[in-house]
Amino acid sequence: MTPNTGQVPEFQGAQRRRPGLRGWLLFSPLLLWLVAFVVAPTCIMFVYSFCQRDELGQVVFEFSLSNYGRVFDATYLKILWNSVLYAGITTAICLVVGYPVAYFIGRASEGVRNKLLMMVMVPFWTSFLIRTYAWMTILKSEGPLNGLLQYAHVIAAPLDILYTPTAVVIGLVYSYLPFMILPIYGSVEKLDNALIEAAFDLGARPVSAFSHVIIPLTRPGILAGVLLVFIPAIGMFAITDLMGGARVPMIGNVIQNQFGQARDWPFGAALGMTLLLLFAALFALTVRKDEDAAA
């Protein structure tokens, strides 16, 4: 999984050995945790996805593949695509917006660095709902944003932002920005000073220094950030509900509904499993590609 930057030579011998007894012992807490709290619950859901439902929506243990059949309905595929699209846009914006900030923080002096990091996270220690409602207050027709723009005569009538896809993207980017900044910061922070100065000194324009030296060196951080934003963003539904007026359903909404009003747990489980399988496949592909590239 660990992406190789390509700039650093592959290590032989010491790295990548098979774990001995001590190795497995060290692994055991992690393994036990995974088995108990990830594998077991996933298996439960897996079993459920093949079940039928009763009147209340609960599972009845009768084997059936019908749930998976329903998953491939055109509507759900469209909804899934929507979710991927929003997640993709969010990730891209977060990357562009967040990278410079991560770089700035990573290159700052020690004391400043930690303060800035905290400053990035502190807003997110307030409750998600409070933050989102604050955004809704800012963006609404009679809110401060419209008020300011109208006062400055930039616009004549209030902008229709709240309860539109724009608001959803703003909400998503806002929620996930720290999860892009922090991993990239981790990569930036370990960059060698001499290397950076060399990149800038050797006559190249700053853009080249970035694109040819710095960004490739921080690739692991970028990848991590992309992962930590894109994956959770696909399942996100609360922001579309609140800031998007619950008008455009995301796959997260659909799954949520199955355990809610639709009262169809097995179908919800099937949808969830499908999502998982999709990712497992994607993941396997990217890892394979990465390993091939490193070889």
């Binding site: 929506g57 199955q258 809610g260």
Partner: protein, 368 residues
């Protein structure tokens, strides 16, 4: 050493005996009894005593802290108030879960579904004498005609809210709300069953007879309506109304009541095509550990003075006739708090059709 051990043993035994003695005191059957030791303790009793703790699983912002504190003060029973935001959330946790709840607050159609599956305890009316306070028109409802399973808490209906400052036309029903001229200025509940029932009302159909044909019939209406809605919100629909993002819509009467209380510009209208009523009740899930305490709480909440507190905080329709006598004329005259519910039917449990309804609304929403 041996004598020490013997002494200790004697001490332990005597302590246990003393404890055992105090436990065997039978609890009074009256509703104002205090909770004592664990149920089914030492000596044989005519009825089990109430436990010291009560697990209340209710809607968030539906049970005032004052009521809980008052109950605890009087009975010594600690109430653990766990909350949910929708019936289905409650069902998910109740049916999947390992916590033993003593009280839940289901809506009427959920009670029906739970009763069908045998998941509710039958109430002992002799322990809940204050049931007599319930208004006659709140009894005899389809889901629980003899109040065998639930004690009514609050009732109401979903209806039309209008900002008369912005909307000058007269709005009488759903058809007036969902017009093209109000496109993007409407708020609706994020509840697929409600939405479908409104569409069915405009076609003159019974909201409780849901079949595939019926859904096909109302699909075009729904499709048109969904395009006009700015935001779907079941949790706090008054927010977009107050924020000026929408001017009218269909929301819960309780939410509307809060708006009407603040400003005269808000109007609440029961749709001419027809509306349905809902009623939330306290019920006891099967296997509840503290059934005695639960019934004590039910009786406590039915006291007029206590019910009045609930009405003051949450201005829904109070089914307690005696409590209504204690309310101010202002509260009773709020058309959103006390709409005319006469003749309104409640939702019945439609079982698996709920899934089809959800799919229909999801399809229509995604099509935009």
């Amino acid at each position: 050493m041996k004598s020490m051990a013997a002494l200790l043993q004697l001490l332990f035994v005597s302590v246990f005996m003393l404890l055992g003695c105090s436990d065997s005191k039978p609890t009074p059957q009256a509703t104002s009894g205090t909770g004592t030791g664990p149920a089914g303790s030492a000596a044989p009793q005519p009825a089990p005593a109430a436990l010291k703790e009560l697990n209340l699983f209710g809607w968030s912002e539906y049970v005032p802290q004052e009521v809980i504190d008052g109950f605890t003060k009087e009975t010594g029973i600690k109430v653990n108030y766990e909350t949910y935001a929708s019936n289905e959330e409650m069902l998910s946790k109740l049916l999947a879960g390992s916590t033993k709840y003593d009280l839940i607050q289901p809506s009427e159609y959920v009670i029906e579904a739970l009763v069908k599956q045998g998941k509710l305890e039958q109430l002992d009316h002799t322990k809940i004498p204050n049931l007599k306070n319930i208004a006659p028109d709140m009894k005899g409802l389809a889901h629980d005609p003899e109040l065998k399973y639930g004690v009514p808490w609050m009732a109401g209906a979903a209806g039309i809210i209008v900002n008369t400052d912005k909307v000058k036309d007269e709005i009488k029903g759903f058809k007036d709300v969902f017009q093209d001229k109000y496109k993007g200025r409407i708020v609706a509940l994020n509840d697929s069953r409600e939405l479908v029932s409104w569409a069915m009302a405009t076609h003159g159909l019974d909201a409780n007879v849901v079949t595939a044909e019926v859904l096909e019939k109302v699909k075009p209406t729904l499709a048109a309506w969904i395009k006009l809605v700015k935001t779907f919100d079941s949790d706090s629909p008054k927010t977009p109304l107050l924020g000026g993002d929408v001017d009218l819509g269909v929301i819960w009467n309780g939410e509307a009541a809060l708006l009407l209380k603040e400003d005269k510009k808000w109007k609440f209208i029961i749709p001419a095509e027809g509306a349905h009523m809902y009623i939330d009740s306290l019920a006891i899930p099967k296997g509840a550990p503290n059934k005695v305490g639960a019934q004590m709480f039910m009786d406590y909440a039915l006291r007029p003075a206590v019910s009045k507190i609930i009405s003051e905080k949450f201005p829904y329709t109070n089914p307690n006739a005696e409590a209504r006598k204690l309310l101010t004329p202002e509260q009773l005259n709020n058309p959103a708090s006390y709409p005319d519910l006469k003749g309104m039917k409640t939702f019945r449990d439609i079982g698996k059709m709920a899934s089809d309804i959800d799919k229909l609304v999801t399809d229509l929403k995604a099509a935009n």
